[in-house]
């Protein structure tokens, strides 16, 4: 579905990504994990065309997308749910969702848009209950649901999720993660960026671990969840010496 090869990206003169390669198979959930500033969001932004990549290739199925504009990338079938939801706070829930289908309105797909709206309300009954409510007054979890729902309105093949659990209570996080799992069951492929490595690896098939703009590890989620390095990165603890804990003196 998605194939990234040797991706480099810069913020000004600062290297943000160095030679990142990764792939996502159709109908997979793949996690990108790593500490703050490791380059996780940069990868998503590069894929969705929000920032330019200085080198490398990004393919969605057979289409090379790394020099396309952001809206063309949406048309190819990739939608991003940005960090911090970034919903349109003064608009209603329904209006937010309709904006997600912006490209399709132009194509006069009104009937199918209505069907999709119903689908999203089935997935998130809470959004239907509140479809007239001003989005800014929703709770954090509801806003995240709305942000995901809005992205789904573009009928993406690949959904990019940036920190969906950010600022949410553990129970709500669990809810959101379950929903993401259900989305995959409905046929969407998902690439998810998370600080909460544990939560996202639990629902993922595979994962990549990033450190200062480079991939330092990849593997199945089960392997990564049991990996001492990942546990350390996640807990932010590192051994001070090679011998720590095993030094018999």
């Amino acid at each position: 579905m998605l194939r990234v090869k040797n991706l480099h990206a810069h913020y000004g003169r600062i290297k943000a990504l160095e030679n990142v390669s990764l792939h996502v198979y159709s109908n997979e959930i793949v996690s990108l994990i790593g500490a703050n500033g490791a380059g996780k969001t940069t990868i998503l932004n590069a894929i969705s065309g929000l920032i330019p990549c200085t080198q490398g290739e990004i393919y969605c199925e057979k289409t090379k997308i790394n020099n396309l504009s952001a809206e063309k990338i949406v048309a190819v079938g990739i939608s991003q749910v940005p960090e911090g939801r970034q919903i349109f706070a003064p608009l209603t829930v329904l209006e937010n969702l309709e904006l997600g289908a912006y490209l399709r309105f132009k194509k006069k797909e009104k009937d199918s848009i209505r069907e999709d709206l119903e689908g999203i309300f089935r997935l998130f009954p809470r959004l239907e209950e509140r479809n007239k409510q001003i989005a800014g007054t929703l709770s954090g979890g509801e806003q995240q649901m709305l942000a995901i729902g809005r992205a789904l309105m573009a009928r993406p093949k690949l959904l990019l999720l940036d920190e969906p659990s950010m600022g949410l209570a553990p129970l709500v996080t669990k809810d959101i993660m379950n929903t993401i799992s259900a989305l995959r069951d409905s046929g969407v492929t998902i690439l998810i960026v998370e600080q909460n490595a544990q939560a996202s690896l639990k629902i993922s098939d595979r994962g990549y671990v990033l450190e200062t703009g480079r991939v330092i590890l990849q593997g199945s989620s089960v392997d990564l969840l049991n990996d001492s390095d990942v546990k350390r990165a996640y807990l932010g603890k590192d051994y001070k010496t090679f011998w720590e804990g095993r030094d018999t003196n």
Binding site: R3, S21, D227, D229, Y239, G245
Partner: protein, 432 residues
């Protein structure tokens, strides 16, 4: 096709190459960050690992040799803190210093998968009774094979030091269905079966999987015909990695390399250039998933060639020919890699002074590799008292066994006998 995890084995080449590229990039990132040896080497040569954009570019990286491993003995090539290591696996290596390889839990899991693949391709299933017969020098393989077979769910009789007749008794009484051994030991067993008049129809054996030695096509034919079994071969390094890096499928036409765990190159041992398919050269391996002990372009010393035609079995993994020999002076004796300098080192330790001149004679007895060390009679080890001489020879034999896991016999010879052969001390007479 029988396989352990078929999806990866049949992955299309395009996907496989992407996977290898990703794994290679992260392996380089980890090695550069965590292993001072690799950092120093790359910095010295001005190699920026973040510019590697295709698997083919691996050819620009420096090699790692057994000497490098010895120089960094014991722990300097480890890429994770000792706390993460769950297995420390020593082996004799081929220099004066032994080698130590570490494994994390994940590394052992990966090794088990690779080993299980080799076993499954040879026909091992969960209902099998698997018997492992290897000599003590191959004990790291013994462990890996045991774990790999257990991973499949078979009942495993681990490597045990027993006479061949006892092994055969176990094979008959325990209803062993799969034998894991070396080619020469398989032939030796066949001889003993003949000598002891065991009815082959009384054996439940259905497959033999061999490792660690050249497999003569005639041997394969004889074993398959007489014992009514299927014989497949595997390839691995006894000192640094898993026994099933390469494995034959039922087509028995070359060894598939587990390319999702190892990157394979064949290079010209003289120039270091990459060889084209079909051309014989040295096998060079790069680990793609190893956490504790990453190896980048490790020169194995084994000679083989790549077969790049598609295998009818459906696996996409590239195949290599059988190992046809070794570079340099390294000898393979009963599957164990030995450098003559190791024997010299043991002699030096035992005699405490300048070691006497010696030759190594290799020959076959009943298909088994035998080693005879010809020692020049000098005063350094030997005295007039027969008892003392006997003791020091016994000590020497024990030392060789302890260091290399090989049983050797020692023959005392006149200086003239050594000179007749026109070889330097440590020279090898290979009568196999």
């Amino acid at each position: 096709m029988k396989s352990f995890n078929g999806n990866n084995e049949k992955m299309n080449r395009d996907e496989l190459e992407q996977l290898q590229l990703e794994q290679l990039q992260s392996t380089l990132n980890r090695a550069y960050k965590n292993v001072p040896f690799y950092k120093k080497q790359f910095d010295l040569l001005g190699i920026d690992t973040s510019t590697l954009s295709s698997v083919q570019q691996i050819k620009d990286l420096p090699f790692t040799t057994r000497q490098d491993l010895a120089n960094n003995y014991p722990y300097d090539l480890f890429a994770v803190p000792l706390r993460d290591i769950v297995r420390i696996s020593p082996s004799a290596g081929t220099t004066a210093k032994p080698l130590v390889v570490g494994y994390t839990k994940g590394d052992l899991k990966a090794r088990n998968t690779v080993t299980a693949r080799f076993l499954a391709a040879g026909g091992v299933v969960d209902t099998d009774i698997v018997q492992i017969c290897l000599n003590p020098g191959l004990s790291s393989w013994g462990r890996a094979l045991k774990e790999g077979a257990e991973n499949i769910g078979a009942s495993v009789m681990p490597m045990t030091h027993m006479s061949t007749s006892k092994q055969l008794m176990a094979m008959k009484d325990y209803r062993t269905s799969v034998l894991l051994t070396t080619p020469s030991y398989a032939m030796h067993i066949l001889e003993v079966i003949k000598d002891t008049n065991i009815e082959t129809s009384n054996l439940a054996l259905k497959a033999i999987l061999v490792l660690g030695g050249p497999l003569d096509p005639d041997w394969r034919n004889r074993l398959e015909r007489v014992l009514d079994i299927s014989l497949t071969a595997g390839y691995g390094l006894s000192d640094v990695t898993a026994p099933g890096i390469g494995f034959e499928c039922h087509e028995k036409n070359g060894l598939h390399i587990s390319e999702d765990y190892f990157m394979l190159e064949i290079i010209d041992p003289g120039t270091g250039d990459v060889c084209l398919p079909g051309k014989y050269g040295e096998v060079v391996l790069t680990t793609l998933t190893a956490r504790a002990f990453p190896l980048i372009r490790f020169r194995t010393g084994d000679l083989a060639s790549i077969k790049d035609d598609l295998c009818p079995c459906g696996r996409s993994f590239v195949r290599i020919s059988e190992i046809t020999g070794h570079t340099g002076e390294v000898l393979t004796i009963a599957g164990v890699k030995v450098h003559p300098a190791q024997i010299e080192h043991i002699l030096k330790t035992v005699s405490g002074k300048t070691p006497p001149r010696f030759l190594i004679r290799l020959y076959k007895e009943n298909f088994l590799d035998m080693v005879e060390i010809w020692l020049e009679i000098t005063e350094t080890i030997f005295s007039d008292e027969v008892k003392l001489v006997e003791n020091s020879l016994k000590h020497l034999r024990r030392q060789v066994f302890q260091m290399l896991g090989l049983e050797v016999s020692i023959r005392l010879v006149e200086a003239s006998t050594i000179e007749q052969h026109d070889l330097p001390s440590g020279g090898v007479i290979d009568d196999r």
